[in-house]
Amino acid sequence: MYYTKAQFLEVLKAELLKRGITDNEILEDFEQHFEIGLSEGLTEAQVCEKLGAPAEIANQYAPEGYSENSAAQNVNQAENNINQNQAQQSTFAENNYNYGNAPQNNGDNADIAKVIGVICLDVFVLVWAIPTLFSLLISYWGVMISFFVTPVVMIIGIIFGSFFAGAPMIVSMLTPAAGIFAALILFGIALIMSAFCIDIWKGFGKLMQAIARLHYEAFTGKKATF
C-alpha cells in the first residue's frame, strides 16, 4: 500500500521502467490526477487507494505479451478466446487491456457490403415485389368482401327479384334453387378466405417489419430494437 503521492509516482515509474516504458506523459497524467483529487479534499493516501496498485497499472500500459504472472493471464486469454468463438463478441473479448492491441476492425467492410447488398435488394427485387404483394393482399380482401356481399345481394334478389333493378342480371339467368346454391358456394368460399385474411395481413406486416429491420441494421450497424 502506498500512502503518499511521491511514493506512488516513484513506484509507478519503477514498474513502468521494468516493462521498458519511459513515457513521462503517463506520470504527468497521474500527477494531474493527484492534484485534482487533493484539491477536492481527498488525502494523498485516499487518492492512492482509489488508483489501485502501481504494478497493475503498469501492466496495462505494457505491450502485448508482457506480464509478471503470465500463467494466470494465459488462462484469461484462453477464456477470452472461447468467448470470442461462442458469442461473436470479438471486440469485448479482446478488450483485456494487458494485451494492448486494438481489436481487429473488419466491421467496416462488412457494413459497406451489407449496405450495397440491401440497396441491390431494394432496386432489383423489393421495388416490384412489395407493390405486387400489396396489391395481391388488397385484391384478396376485395375478393373476399365481394364473395360475402354477392350471396346476400343474390338472396335478396331472389326474394325481392321484382323490386330490384340492379340484381336481376345474374338472378334471371338462374332458377331460384340454382341461385341459392350459387350464393351458398360463394358464401362458403368467402368463409374459407376469411379464415386466412388476418394471418395474411399480419404476415405482410411482419415482412415489412423484417425489411425495415434489415435496412436499419445495414445502415446504422446497430441491432434493431423493433
Partner: protein, 107 residues
C-alpha cells in the same frame, strides 16, 4: 461486479461519455464511478490506448487552480467505434438475457 466483465465494457463507457462532452481524466473517473466501482488507475492506460488508436485526442486547458488540465476529445473514428461497440453490447446483453430467461418488453 466481476472485473473481467467491467474491463470489457469500460472502453465503451469512456467512449460513450466522450461522445457527449470533452472531459479530463479525473472527470471521467467520477462520471463512471457514479454508476459502478472501478479501480481508477485503469482509466489512464485505457485513455492512452484509445489515443494511440486514434479514437480520441487530447488538448490542454489552463485551469484557475493548479496545472493545466488535459482534456480528451473523441474523433470521428472514435464515434464510429462507439457505435460499433454499442451494437455489440446490445447484442451481447440480449444473448445473455436470453440464456438467463430474462425477457424484454415488446418481444
Amino acid at each position: 461486479m466481476n472485473s473481467q466483465l467491467k474491463r470489457g465494457t469500460l472502453e465503451l463507457c469512456v467512449l460513450s461519455i466522450l461522445a457527449r462532452r470533452d472531459c479530463y481524466g479525473y472527470e471521467l473517473v467520477n462520471a463512471i464511478s457514479e454508476s459502478m466501482h472501478i479501480t481508477e488507475g485503469t482509466i489512464y492506460p485505457l485513455l492512452k490506448r484509445l489515443k494511440d488508436d486514434g479514437n480520441i485526442t487530447s488538448y490542454l486547458v489552463e485551469s484557475t487552480e493548479g496545472p493545466p488540465r488535459k482534456y480528451y476529445k473523441i474523433t470521428n473514428n472514435g464515434l464510429l467505434k462507439t457505435k460499433e461497440l454499442e451494437g455489440q453490447w446490445i447484442q451481447f446483453y440480449r444473448s445473455i438475457n436470453k440464456i438467463l430467461g430474462i425477457t424484454e418488453k415488446g418481444e
